[in-house]
Every structure is written in structure tokens, then in C-alpha cells.
């Protein structure tokens, strides 16, 4: 607080409540700063979790014939372990298998893949990450321009992973045996 009078002449009774006013001004600013920091921290953690979840999904797909259900389940298991109240890994998660080459989308039909044409499994995941911190979440989603209907604003995180597909041969559907002997 600035004292216009000579310093020595300042009356102590006039300074009363000065701390409260300062606190009222400063604390919300700090609170917003803290919560934004925490929300950003959760977001960064979410991105790390998503990267690992996509890796697990790709690894599962690589050994389970690119079965999208199993891949989603594997990724969901990882996201479910995310700390805090951010659940529902599976329903907010969308996995897609990228086509082997541009314009080759016809190789992918529903959840099955024509294995003859696919040797590398490329998986991309989108996760609508809920920004649960009240004010910071809205600020971040507003800044990014991502507004989706729901209880909490969300921000879409995405991650991609590629892995060799190990089950493109000897598929039982193609007449081969799953096990060697």
C-alpha cells in the first residue's frame, strides 16, 4: 500500500485490513495459477499414459491378429490406472488402425484386416481427456478452442504407434493351422 503522506506520519489504524485486501487480490490469482499448473500436469501425465496405452494396444494387436476389441481393452486397462477421478478409459478412447498406404482403405473392413496386405500395424488413439479442474479446465479448453458437451470440458489427446504384425500368416480363416503341430 502506498502512503502519500510522509512515512513517519502514516497512522497505523489506516493500514488495518490491508493484508486482507491484498490476500483477496493475490490468492485467487495464485489459486488459478496453481490449478492451471495442476491441470497441465494432469494433461501431460495423460499424454504419457496414452502413449503407453497405444503401445500396449499395438502390441496386443500385433499378436492378436489386429483384433480391435482386444486392442481397445488393453489400452483401456492402462488408462483405467490413471490416478484421480479420470475413469472410463474405454468409452472416451477411440482406436483406429491406419491403412497400410494412402488410398488403401478398402483393406480394412469393419474390424478385420486383410492380412496379406498389412505387415506393419499402425495404431492411432484419440482420448477425450476430461479437464476436471473447474476453472483451469475451462480456461485451457477455451484457449485451445475445444468445447464438447459434457460435465467437464475435454481436450483430445492423440498418439500413434507402429509395430510389425506377427499373425498375418497361418490365419485359421485362410486355411492354415494356428499351432504348428
Amino acid at each position: 500500500m502506498v502512503c502519500l503522506k510522509p512515512i513517519t506520519g502514516c497512522h497505523p489504524s489506516r493500514d488495518r485490513g490491508q493484508g486482507v485486501v491484498e490476500a483477496i487480490v493475490v490468492l485467487p490469482a495464485f489459486l488459478i495459477l496453481f490449478s492451471t499448473l495442476f491441470q497441465l500436469f494432469l494433461l501431460a501425465m495423460g499424454q504419457v499414459y496414452l502413449s503407453y496405452a497405444v503401445f500396449c494396444a499395438a502390441r496386443t494387436g500385433a499378436v492378436r491378429n489386429a483384433d480391435l476389441d482386444q486392442m481397445t481393452a488393453a489400452a483401456g486397462l492402462i488408462l483405467r490406472a490413471f490416478p484421480g477421478n479420470i475413469r472410463s478409459g474405454e468409452d472416451r478412447l477411440k482406436l483406429e488402425i491406419l491403412p497400410p498406404a494412402p488410398g488403401d482403405e478398402d483393406h480394412i473392413s469393419d474390424k478385420r484386416i486383410h492380412r496379406d496386405h498389412l505387415e506393419i500395424l499402425q495404431v492411432r488413439a484419440h482420448w477425450d481427456f476430461p479437464l476436471i479442474i473447474p476453472l483451469a479446465g475451462r480456461m485451457i479448453s477455451g484457449a485451445v478452442g475445444s468445447r464438447k458437451p459434457g460435465r467437464h470440458p475435454t481436450l483430445s489427446l492423440s498418439s500413434t504407434w507402429s509395430m510389425p504384425l506377427w499373425t498375418n500368416e497361418q490365419d485359421p480363416e485362410n486355411g492354415g493351422e494356428r499351432h504348428a503341430l
Binding site: 493500514d15 495464485f30 495459477l33 499448473l37 500436469f41 503401445f55 502390441r59 485362410n174 492354415g176 504348428a180
Partner: protein, 372 residues
């Protein structure tokens, strides 16, 4: 002293709290990313280790298959060379018979007869010389192949383990193959070796018969004049004995004997491979019908090195498990039964839950953790 000295540093408390919280978050984020990085690397290393160990075994089986084929090829060549000797001998004898007729031709008869005599003898000598040199060479190669195969199979378990360890060493820092799974790798590789049994004689004969040129097995001709069959025919072939080949060529003529037409042998030649140093057919190894356990699971454990700049203190060990199998797949013939006569053994990764051995070896907490 100014009156606000007591208020100095009040922002410092908030700044310190803010910094502390920020630093803690940053470090835990850093730590989490390192954990994920290490886990991914360890999983990759586990995959590499399993594939390396299994590739050694698949390559071993393919080598056995190639060796089997080489042994069969040497046996087939021995049979063909032996047949060549028999044929050369047969034609030399035939030319000797014709020589008597040719001599009757005026002017050139004597010369032609001499040429036929020398030619027949040279042909036979050449056939015998080549056979006498190549059959022992084939036998020596066979014994060399069998010894090499023995060495390969004896060292297969340890080579598999070494390959797995090398893969871990190259692709992961600080990762170690969990000891019980190392033991199961050795057991699995040993059972692959033990499943290779020598084929029965009858099967070996069948394989040789399939490998040898059909003209070696049967070389018959009949003399015909248009549609009229002349009473002269040649029969020849190779018989596969338990440890020898017998080639024979016979010329028969129909003669009237006791008021009946009968075939009478007028010329014959025979050759045995054993006379040229052939000792026995090569030992062919094939996979027993039960088959060995072809899947393998390895678990890698890593005591993570402390991240540079991270929060000091003991960090938890991370684990990764991977399963794979060797399988037989002949392109274009998916129904072919796995065998060690064709080199089509390959490897691939499989879900850990598909390996029955893994369920027995791995501890329950780890099984719960494995997601793929």
C-alpha cells in the same frame, strides 16, 4: 526503519509453495515418462530375446532340413552313378555282341569293330572311375554333415540362451532374463532337439525313391516295328537295399522252348554301390509325431537405473514378458505337416496366454500385470 519491514517476504512463501509444487509435478512427470520409456524398451527387449532364441531354433531345424536334403541328394547321386556303371557295362557287353556282326561288313567292318570295342571299354572305365571317385566323396560329405548336425543339435539350447542374452544386452540397459525362464528356455530347446528322431528304414527308402531320378529306378525299353512288338526287350532298374543300391540291366529275347514262348536272358549287367565304397544310407532326422513344445516365454526384469536429475531413492523394478513360437509354414501349402525335410521353419510372437508353459512358470502377480 520503514514500517513495512514486517511484510517483506510474504510473497516468498507463496512463490516457494508454487515452486515446490511445480518442481514435484515436473519430477514426477519426468519419472513417469522414464518408467514408460523403460517399460516399452524392456518389452521390446523381451520380444527381441524371444525371437532371437526361437530364431536360433528355427534356423537349427532349417539346417537339419537342408542337411537331410543334402544327405538324400548324395544318396540319390550314389544310386544314379551306380546305375550308370550298370548301364555302361550293359552297353559295353551289347557292343561286344554287335562287334561280331559288324566285323562281317566289308572294308570298314574291322575298324568299326575296333572303335566299338575301344569305345565300350572306355565308356565303362569312365563310368567306373567317376563312380569310384564320387561315391566315397558323397559318403565323406554325408558323415561330415551328420557330424555337423550333431554339433549343432548339441549346442542348440546354449546357443538359444546366448542369442536371447545378446538380444537383451543390445536392446536394453540393465535388463536381465529372469532365471526360471532361462531354465525353461533351455528345457524347451532340449525338447526340440530330443524330438528329432532317425527315420525308419522303410521311410528312408521311400524318400530316396522319391529323390532319385525316375529313369534310375526304371529304365526299360521294348523294340517295336510300328505297332508290331518285337520279341526283344530290355529291363533295368535300381533296387534299394537297407544299406546298398543294386542296379541291373537285362536284355531278354522271346524264344520257343518246350512249345511255349518264354523270355530268355541274353545279356545282363549288374552293379552294387557297396563295391565303390558306399557304406549305408544317410541318417535322416525327422520330428516325432508328438512334437516338442514350440512356444517359449521369457520374462525380463530390470532394476531401473536412477534417472539423471530425478528424485533420488530406490526405484521399483520393472518387468516385461513375451511369448513366441516356432512354426512350420510352406508357402502355398499351408496343410503340409511340420517336418525337417523342408526348410520352412519360422518364428513369430504370440500372446502370453497362448503359451501353456508360461501359465505354469510365471508368478501370479506378473500374469495379472501382463496385458498382451
Amino acid at each position: 526503519m520503514p514500517s513495512d519491514t514486517g511484510q517483506r517476504g510474504q510473497i516468498l512463501v507463496l512463490a516457494a509453495a508454487f515452486l515446490l509444487l511445480g518442481t514435484t509435478m515436473l519430477f514426477s512427470l519426468f519419472n513417469l515418462s522414464l518408467t514408460v520409456r523403460d517399460k516399452v524398451r524392456l518389452q521390446m527387449a523381451a520380444d527381441m530375446a524371444v525371437l532371437s532364441a526361437l530364431n536360433v531354433q528355427a534356423n537349427g531345424l532349417n539346417s537339419v532340413a537342408m542337411g537331410n536334403r543334402a544327405i538324400l541328394a548324395h544318396d540319390a547321386i550314389s544310386a544314379q552313378l551306380n546305375a550308370l556303371v550298370s548301364q555302361a557295362s550293359f552297353y559295353r557287353k551289347l557292343m561286344d555282341r554287335f562287334r561280331r556282326l559288324v566285323r562281317l561288313i566289308p572294308t570298314f567292318g574291322t575298324i568299326l569293330s575296333q572303335v566299338m570295342s575301344v569305345g565300350g571299354k572306355t565308356l565303362e572305365r569312365l563310368a567306373r572311375g567317376i563312380t569310384g571317385y564320387l561315391i566315397p566323396a558323397g559318403q565323406a560329405l554325408n558323415s561330415l554333415l551328420i557330424r555337423e548336425r550333431g554339433l549343432l543339435l548339441a549346442t542348440l539350447p546354449i546357443q538359444s540362451l546366448r542369442a536371447a542374452r545378446k538380444a537383451v544386452e543390445l536392446s536394453s540397459s540393465g535388463g536381465r532374463i529372469w532365471l526360471p525362464t532361462q531354465a525353461s528356455l533351455l528345457r524347451q530347446a532340449r525338447s526340440v532337439v530330443r524330438s528329432l528322431l532317425p527315420l525308419k528304414d522303410i521311410e528312408v527308402k521311400r524318400l530316396i525313391r522319391g529323390t532319385v531320378n525316375p529313369r534310375t529306378m526304371r529304365r526299360n525299353w521294348d523294340m517295336r516295328l510300328g505297332k508290331l512288338s518285337l520279341p526283344l526287350r530290355k529291363r533295368g532298374g535300381t533296387t534299394i537295399h537297407p544299406s546298398d543300391f543294386r542296379a541291373h540291366d537285362v536284355l531278354r529275347m522271346k524264344v520257343l522252348r518246350r512249345f511255349r514262348w518264354r523270355w530268355r536272358t541274353v545279356l545282363s549287367a549288374e552293379s552294387r554301390a557297396s563295391k565303390f565304397g558306399y557304406r549305408s544310407h544317410g541318417r535322416i532326422l525327422d520330428m516325432s509325431s508328438e512334437g516338442p513344445p514350440l512356444s517359449l516365454t521369457l520374462v525380463l526384469k530390470s532394476a531401473r537405473p536412477e534417472p539423471s536429475g530425478g528424485i533420488p531413492g530406490p526405484l521399483p523394478a520393472i518387468t516385461a514378458a513375451s511369448s513366441g513360437e516356432i512354426f512350420y509354414h510352406r508357402p502355398g501349402r499351408p496343410e503340409e505337416h511340420p517336418n525337417t525335410l523342408n526348410p520352412f521353419w519360422r518364428t513369430r510372437l504370440i500372446p502370453v496366454s497362448d503359451d501353456p508353459m508360461a501359465m505354469r512358470v510365471l508368478p501370479r502377480p506378473l500374469l495379472k500385470e501382463i496385458r498382451h
